[in-house]
Amino acid sequence: MASPPARVPAERIALVDLLDRLLAGGVVVSGEITLSVADVDLVTISLRALIASVGSLGKDYAGAEPATQSGGSW
């Protein structure tokens, strides 16, 4: 059964979980260059397209072991 989740080392955090937060989170204090909402959509769309077109890369990217990467899974 599940135990309290351990802290996940930074290098094992699933990129997809990180991008959820980094592309849509963080405070926006407009620099001369700041990702805007439109940019985020563009990045997300191009990522999906990229992953759809490069299947093997998609596997590496998402991680071969999503359950353990995510820090706890039931």
Binding site: L18, V27, V28, G31, L35, L47, G71
Partner: protein, 261 residues
């Protein structure tokens, strides 16, 4: 570094104690703090040939580049937040100078201070809810013999197949609805324990590498001291609702709660 430099911002704080000198940031840059607009900002220099507006737009579409930058940005924030409360900045916030940064921050001083107070001493936890595979999924995906009978025109077998298929589809819809309702109930329950909650769009199976349908992708802002109780609540919810698969991630710096409410 050759060419023009910009300042890549990681986080805003009102503290700034602690030793950051060994922290390496985006593109191998050395992280330092600068005073700007009444705050202390964690920054490193970036080459505008790679991080200027045009280059950035191009590079953000390069998955390898994006992953390196995202992990480096997170690495700095994750290390610094162990030293003092901070407000992470959006990925790819680049200023041309300290003066430009100070002006941008100064204009929003009160709002940023309020946001810092809101996240101070708090952490973010992520919960993803998937519809668990149904035990009878295997049957419903193998209607082949009945299908063959239907195609050869043997009416009785075809009709039986259609009835069975309709029953399966109805059962499938019912269980999908039940799983979604269960996910929403879990979200309501966990929200009650959190200072704030935020919904992220469900991740596509291609991005997550997980074939189960994702029903919810949520972030919760909690007092750091409430983390253990929250994790236990997620475990209990997972046990009570076998129709769901729950995944807990964190603790994260309060990325999802750094902006406006």
């Amino acid at each position: 570094m050759t060419g023009a430099c910009g300042l890549w911002a990681y986080a805003i704080t009102e503290h700034g104690g602690g030793d950051l000198s060994r922290l390496t940031g985006v593109a191998g840059g050395t992280v330092r703090t600068v005073a700007a607009g009444g705050f202390t900002v964690l920054v490193s220099d970036v080459d505008l040939a790679e991080f200027g507006e045009v280059a950035l737009r191009r590079n953000l579409e390069n998955l390898t580049w994006l992953e390196e930058v995202a992990r480096a940005h997170h690495h700095v924030i994750d290390a610094a937040i162990r030293l003092f409360p901070l407000l992470p900045t959006r990925l790819a916030t680049v200023y041309s100078s300290t003066e430009a940064m100070a002006a941008a921050l100064g204009r929003r001083r009160e709002e940023l201070r309020a946001a810092l107070r809101r996240v101070s001493g708090r952490v973010e936890w992520g919960v993803k809810a998937y519809a668990a595979p149904r035990p009878d999924t295997r049957d419903s995906q193998q209607p082949a013999p009945a299908q063959a009978a239907e195609q050869t025109g043997t009416g009785g077998a075809g009709l039986a197949y259609l009835k069975r298929r309709r029953a399966q589809l109805t059962a499938g819809e019912r269980s999908a609805r039940a799983a979604l309702a269960a996910a929403q109930a879990v979200h309501a329950e966990l929200s009650g324990r959190a200072a704030q909650a935020r919904l992220h769009p469900p991740q596509s199976p291609q991005l997550s590498g997980n074939q189960m349908p994702m029903l919810l992708n949520t972030a919760y802002l909690l007092d750091a001291s409430a983390s253990d109780a929250f994790a236990s609540a997620v475990t209990a919810a997972a046990t009570a609702r076998p129709e769901l698969r729950l995944e807990l991630t964190g603790p994260w710096p309060p990325y999802s709660f750094a902006g406006e409410d």
